[in-house]
């Protein structure tokens, strides 16, 4: 039997992906697959490699460097060696190569692989640029447009292979952990590419509305876009709604909640799996990598749904679409004006009253609609104090409708309105200035959502 084929006692799960070489040496030493002598030889060769790298780093100009610099170069060398060892079929082969090949050679092999991996990273970056979705999310845009570029400009294949220059803030469904350097970038770009491919199946405006439903300020958040899109898509599949609309209203979300309420996580997972496979057919997703990527996020979504059902927050998992620009308009009807003769009689009686209390009594008794109230306030030519008392009879929405119907604009007023109308507008303006801020805010909010007819 060839020594390469020997079964290793080392548990691959215990090995760090980021510090592969170091952890492999440690495990191999513990398991007795590496003797003390071999271990010392490897350490000595690593230090010799460091010495040579440092000389290249200082270009022979300096015989000493700061300890941090040396540690950084050492980490870079070990990372490069790790890259080669990880490319080998298994741990036994890796140990065979560590024992039988000079460390310098392993470094050279690793260096060549890093150059190849950099090209792979560039390919994925190019693909991401092509498949980028149109969104207002700042983190997504900044990461793709400016955050990733420094990696390709500053990545140091000689002395900083383990580093990740750049500013990568956008969060993925599957965060990349336990990787460094070019390996991290490739994994990150690959994941982002699959997310882009999935999101491309949907209209950018629809994604925007879904994200607004999640949080109106999503453009400033560090949250993932694809995850919410996937969740809403699955919600649509549950209800047999067109998946590309991603449209769920509160009733739909309630239906999903009722359907899954009291169910265990494995059941929910099965439901999600079924819905996801149907979704792949509906969206014509045939890329197995994208499928695998999305399928592997289902356990996380199932857990999220379970927790949401327990805490009655299912509307945080499946969100209704929301368009911040289309605010609902409430049509406010000012009511039917009374008969002209009856109105004239009331006005005559009102004007003939000596005391305001009597006038107020007439208003309370005969005025039934806001349209008549507006006319009577104008005709009554009340002082500010009197007008205020009359305005107090109105609800916020009635005041809002009155203000909206009588926009206070001094330049227009002179030409467009009569003296009595201008007086009423001035009283109304003064009234608004004197009411509590909270009530005023409420009136303004109501004004924005009503249309007076």
């Amino acid at each position: 039997m060839n020594s390469i084929d020997k079964h290793s006692k080392i548990d691959e799960q215990k090995l760090s992906k980021e510090f592969f070489f170091q952890s492999l040496l440690q495990e191999a030493y513990i398991q007795g697959e590496l003797s003390q002598l071999e271990s010392e030889r490897i350490q000595g060769e690593c230090l010799k490699l460091l010495s040579e790298s440092t000389e290249r780093y200082t270009k022979g100009q300096s015989s000493s460097v700061r300890v941090e610099t040396a540690q950084n170069i050492m980490a870079s060398n070990l990372y490069t060696i790790s890259i080669y060892l990880k490319s080998l079929p298994n741990v036994s082969t890796a140990i065979y190569h560590i024992i039988h090949e000079p460390i310098e050679k392993l470094y050279e092999y690793g260096y060549k692989i890093i150059i190849r991996k950099l090209n792979v990273a560039k390919y994925f970056f190019h693909q991401i640029d092509k498949t980028k979705i149109s969104t207002q999310n700042h983190t997504y845009n900044a990461t793709i447009e400016t955050g990733l570029k420094p990696f390709f400009e500053q990545y140091n294949v000689n002395f900083g292979t383990h580093e990740i220059p750049g500013s990568i803030d956008y969060q993925l469904i599957h965060p990349v952990t336990d990787l460094a350097g070019v390996e991290y970038i490739i994994q990150y770009l690959e994941n982002l590419y699959y997310e882009n491919l999935f999101c491309q199946k949907f209209d950018a405006d629809i994604i925007h509305e879904v994200m607004c439903g999640y949080d109106e300020n999503y453009k400033d958040l560090l949250d993932n876009l694809c995850e919410q899109v996937l969740q809403n898509a699955l919600g649509c599949m549950f209800l047999k709604k067109p998946v590309q609309s991603l449209d769920l209203n509160l009733l739909d979300i309630q239906k999903i909640g009722n359907k899954l309420l009291g169910k265990k996580q494995p059941f929910i997972f099965d439901q999600l799996l079924e819905a996801t496979n149907e979704m792949f057919e509906d969206l014509e997703i045939s890329n197995t990598s994208v499928e695998h990527y999305l399928l592997s996020s289902l356990p996380k979504i199932a857990l999220k749904i379970c927790t949401a059902l327990e805490t009655d927050t299912i509307e945080k998992v499946f969100v209704p679409r929301f368009n911040p620009h289309s605010k609902p308009i409430v049509k406010y009807y000012m009511g039917v004006k009374m008969d002209d003769k009856a109105y004239r009689d009331i006005v005559s009686e009102l004007l003939s009253c000596r005391y305001f209390e009597d006038k107020l009594q007439i208003i309370k008794e005969y005025i039934k609609t806001l349209a008549d109230m507006e006319d009577i306030i104008i005709a009554g030519q009340f002082s500010f104090a009197e007008a205020s008392t009359v305005f107090d009879l109105l609800d916020d929405i009635e005041v809002a409708a009155l203000v909206k119907h009588n926009p206070i604009n001094q330049e227009v007023n002179v030409v467009e309105y009569s003296v009595e109308e201008v007086l009423m507008q001035k009283n109304l303006k003064k009234y608004l200035e004197n009411i509590p801020t909270e009530r005023l805010a409420n009136i303004h909010k109501t004004m924005a959502t009503i249309e007076v007819i």
């Binding site: 690593c46 300096s62 000493s64």
Partner: protein
């Protein structure tokens, strides 16, 4: 998880450094200077101590040999003070490697040290360390010429202004 950089075979490095220093005896002999094996070992120890203290690491024999060769023709060195000055120079060298942010090569730094030591410092190590090299390191950190002297520049400008005034009068 990182390799311990101090795993270096110190004995081997020391042996190499001592033999390099001993080789210098052939050159410094013409200036009536000499170093014994014991004093060479002490110099190597000073180097190790300085490196550790200043957070630096050195591969190979190091710079002691270079310092000896460059400084041996100084008029301010004699067999009596030679060894003591070398210890100080080694410490000063590594200190200013840090202070110049490693922007200056070993050879350049040693040459500057020698130039100031023999020149304005007249053999004073204190003036070398606390005045001249301090100024030079500051100049390098701020991107100026290492020789730039703020004080001299101010005096020169003042004199020029005075001269101008006199001419105008």
């Amino acid at each position: 998880m990182s390799f311990n950089l101090m795993l270096f075979d110190n004995a081997l490095v020391q042996k190499q450094a001592v033999s390099e220093i001993m080789l210098c005896n052939e050159i410094i002999d013409q200036y009536s200077l000499a170093l014994t094996k014991a004093s060479a070992l002490e110099l190597v120890e000073t180097r190790s101590y300085s490196l550790e203290n200043l957070g630096r690491i050195e591969f190979g024999g190091g710079i002691i040999g270079k310092i000896i060769i460059v400084f041996c023709d100084s008029p301010y060195l004699s067999q009596e003070n030679f060894e003591g000055i070398l210890h100080e120079l080694i410490e000063i060298f590594y200190y200013y490697k840090n202070e110049t942010l490693d922007l200056m090569s070993d050879d350049d730094l040693i040459n500057y040290m020698k130039m100031y030591f023999d020149g304005v410092c007249h053999g004073s190590l204190d003036q070398l360390k606390f005045t001249e090299l301090d100024r030079m390191a500051r100049n390098i950190r701020f991107g100026y010429n290492p020789d730039y002297n703020e004080l001299e520049e101010a005096i020169r400008k003042e004199m020029e202004a005075e001269e101008k005034e006199e001419n105008n009068e």
